[in-house]
Structures are given as structure tokens and as C-alpha cells.
Amino acid sequence: MRAEVSQVSDIALLQAIARGDEAALARLYDQYRVILFGLLVRILNSREEAEDVLQEVFLQVWRRAGDYDEQRGKPFTWLVTLTRSRAIDRLRALGSRQRLATSAAQEQPEEASDALKETYRSEQREIVQRALADLPEEQRRTLLLAYFEGLTQTEIAAKLNAPLGTVKTRMRSALTKLRETLGTQTGLLGGANR
């Protein structure tokens, strides 16, 4: 399905970027800007910080596209991992778990230019949100605290006033169940756009 959406695979785009193709970077940006920016705003809760980090991410993609290794997984995974890692670094550098309160972060998302891609992403979103909803509340909370607030297991244990061992178990169980659920959805895990 992914291949129907994109005539040029993400891997081909990364290879072109590694060769210095600026247009390829623009295409990759257009393809992922909406989901990556949504992720950054959710983590940083600030449009300004999120835009700053999004720029850093794509400059890093430009400089490091040659480092992308297909064995590591889909380009999407690489991009998200890179983006989230930068966001968590920024969050920790800001020295606060308290979200930066900005009304801008509450703005409604603007409509993406490519309706087909957006529809596809919405389908992905629905599947992931359903899988999350199927998790027990405490497992889901543990997972989301780590993923979107950048908290470590020790910090989550302190925040929830729960034993560290319990937090570790919840986190592993949650991700295991998520993997099982998503693994059964064709193309979500393992079906790379290559």
C-alpha cells in the first residue's frame, strides 16, 4: 500500500539525499513533515521548539543520509527515532518535564497538502490508537509517559509512586502487546517501504 502512495521509495530518496540531491530532501520532508512535526509538538508542547528541532532533524538527515542502514529497519523508523531522540535531548536540555504552555500547541492541525498520504497516515493512526486502547490503563500510561514525556523508568516509578520493578514489567508487557497487535496488521511492522 505504501508503494502506491509513493512512487519513489523512501530508501531511494535517502540514497539520493546521500548523493546531495536537494530535491530528494524536499520530497522526504513533504512526505513526513506532518507526522514528525505532530510528534515533536506532542513531546515539546511548543510549536516554536518543535519547528526548531524539525529543522535540526532534516539537516541531520541531509548530512547523515549515507549512514542509514536498511538492516536497521524502515526509513520511517530511522526518521522517527532520530526525531524523537532530538526531541528528548531538547526536552532534557530545557530541564523541565513541565510542558511549555503555548496556546499554539493547541491549534488545530492544518490540512496536509497530499490528501492521499494523509488518509493513509490516518489509517495508521487509527490502528495504533486502537492497539493502545486495548492495553490496560496502567501499561498504556507507562508507555506514553516514556514515549511522549521522555521519562526514564526510574522517573516514571517516582511519578506514579510505583515500584521500579512494576514499571519495568508494565513497560515491557505494553510494548510486547503492541508489537503483537501491530504485527498482525499487514504492512505496519516489517513491511518496509524500500
Binding site: V34, V41, S96, L144, F148
Partner: protein
């Protein structure tokens, strides 16, 4: 740490949820273990899917412009740098295609200006980054201090509340320099503050015990910070409210129902 223990850490690592030391240890292991590395990639794929839980948002158009302008500038600088140090001797061009000396000088000057601008931009950018980092560090320190102050206020408020009791725990031979105080009120709400404890090995934690007439009642577990200090809020069992002995042992990190590890701190009877 065993191979199996490293495997247990992989899911949390994919969520960046390991503490620094554990993450570093795991990263070192991944360098040499193909199996763990493959599993790590699989966990990362699952973890990445969580990005779909965030609401998609359109960034402003200037982000795209900035990115493309920056990479274009980098490309130009790179080309200009290469032009400055040719690695092959160029073919001589036909006379009519040859540029005038003025054009050549202008091209060189433009290239030098471009390189100069790029370097200046880099310095400005680095300076901004350094300033941002310093502001972030100071802000972090301030928040930490505020948190510590709040915590100390909480402790003072608790131990000065009417009917509060205090007991002192002294370090045993396991940690002669360790010391702790436990404060509790008549409802059994207790607050333990310990310092001077060695950091618990991986998979272990300190556990509080309430001992009354030889009966050992388990309290909660806690970890210490890098300085060896730890704090714990707990609820005393009703029967431990009077004349109980308090002790702290090293146990498996989830805690145990009966003490199995060495005693590190104990109060007088």
C-alpha cells in the same frame, strides 16, 4: 550482566527509558551481540509506530524554506571549497569561452565571501547553541533547587506536625557511614530519609522493614541517587506504631515479603 538480562532491557531502550548507566552498558553490549542488536531494531520499529498516536500537525512553510536554504548553502560551500582545491588539471577552454580576469576575480571573491559568510554563520550558530545550553543548564539548576527546597519544606512540615515521632537508623558494618531518619505520625504515615548508602547493584533495591516483637513486616523499596541519598514515603502497619525497630536491607528490586539480604541500616530498639 548476562545476555538474558540485556535482552530484558531492549524494550525500555527502544523507548529511551533506561537510566544513563544502564543505557551505556546496553549500548556497549549491542556492539558485540548480533542477536540483541536484531531484537533492538525490532523493538525500535514498534516504538516508532507510537508516533502515529500524535496528532499530525502542519509546520509553517518557513521551516521548509529554512531547511532547503541551509542545505543549499552547504552544497554551495562544499562545491566552492572543492573549487578552491582542484584535484585534477582542467582542460584549457577555447579562447572564446575563456572568462575575463575580472570575471574570474569576481568569481573567486564571491566564493571567498560565501565561505566567509558560511563560517560566520557557523560561529553565530555555535554561539547561540552555547548560550541556549547555558540558559537551559541554569534553568535546570534552578528547578532542581526549587524541587529540593519544596522537598525540604515538606520534610520540615511533616516532622514538625503534632504527634510526629522520629527514629534514627545507624549504618551497620555493611555501610558504616550510612545514616537515616524516619519520621511518622500517629496515622502511621512515615517518611524515611537515608544518606551514605552505596548504590544498589542492578536488579537490587533497598527495602524498609518494620520489626515488632520479632515479627518482620515489609515496607516499600527505594533507590538512592548518585550521592547515596534516598527518600521514601510509606505507611506503618498499625502494630508497628509503637516501639517498633526499623531496618533497611538490600533486596531484589521488586521487594520481598521476608528479608533475605544484608542489613544496612537499623534503628535502636
Amino acid at each position: 550482566m548476562s545476555h538474558e538480562e540485556y535482552q530484558e532491557l531492549l524494550a525500555a531502550n527502544a523507548l529511551s527509558a533506561l537510566d544513563g548507566a544502564q543505557a551505556r552498558e546496553l549500548t556497549a553490549h549491542l556492539e558485540s551481540c548480533d542477536e540483541c542488536r536484531a531484537q533492538s531494531f525490532a523493538w525500535e520499529e514498534t516504538s516508532a509506530m507510537l508516533a502515529y498516536d500524535a496528532t499530525p500537525i502542519e509546520p509553517s512553510a518557513r521551516v521548509r524554506e529554512n531547511i532547503l536554504a541551509a542545505v543549499h548553502l552547504e552544497s554551495q560551500s562544499s562545491v566552492a571549497s572543492k573549487a578552491q582545491v582542484p584535484t585534477v588539471v582542467p582542460f584549457e577552454r577555447p579562447a572564446k569561452a575563456r572568462q575575463s580576469p575580472f570575471v574570474s576575480f569576481a568569481a573567486i571573491a564571491a566564493t571567498l565571501v560565501l565561505i566567509g559568510l558560511s563560517i560566520s554563520l557557523l560561529f553565530v550558530w555555535k554561539e547561540k547553541r552555547a548560550n541556549d545550553a547555558e540558559v537551559a543548564r541554569l534553568s535546570s539548576e534552578m528547578q532542581q533547587t526549587q524541587a529540593e527546597l519544596q522537598h525540604e519544606r515538606e520534610v520540615v512540615s511533616f516532622i514538625t506536625s503534632p504527634g510526629a515521632h522520629m527514629a534514627e537508623l545507624a549504618g551497620t558494618n555493611m555501610a558504616p557511614g550510612a545514616h537515616a531518619m524516619i519520621a511518622y505520625d500517629k496515622s502511621g504515615q512515615a517518611m524515611l530519609m537515608a544518606r551514605g548508602l552505596p548504590s544498589a547493584p542492578s536488579g537490587k533495591a533497598y527495602q524498609l522493614w518494620f520489626i515488632k516483637d520479632g515479627k518482620k513486616m515489609p515496607g516499600r523499596v527505594f533507590q538512592t541517587d548518585p550521592s547515596g541519598s534516598g527518600m521514601l514515603k510509606d505507611q506503618l502497619p498499625a502494630e508497628a506504631l509503637s516501639a517498633a525497630v526499623f531496618a533497611i536491607t538490600l533486596e531484589p528490586e521488586n521487594g520481598v515479603a521476608a528479608p533475605t539480604g544484608a542489613v544496612y541500616l537499623v534503628s535502636g530498639s
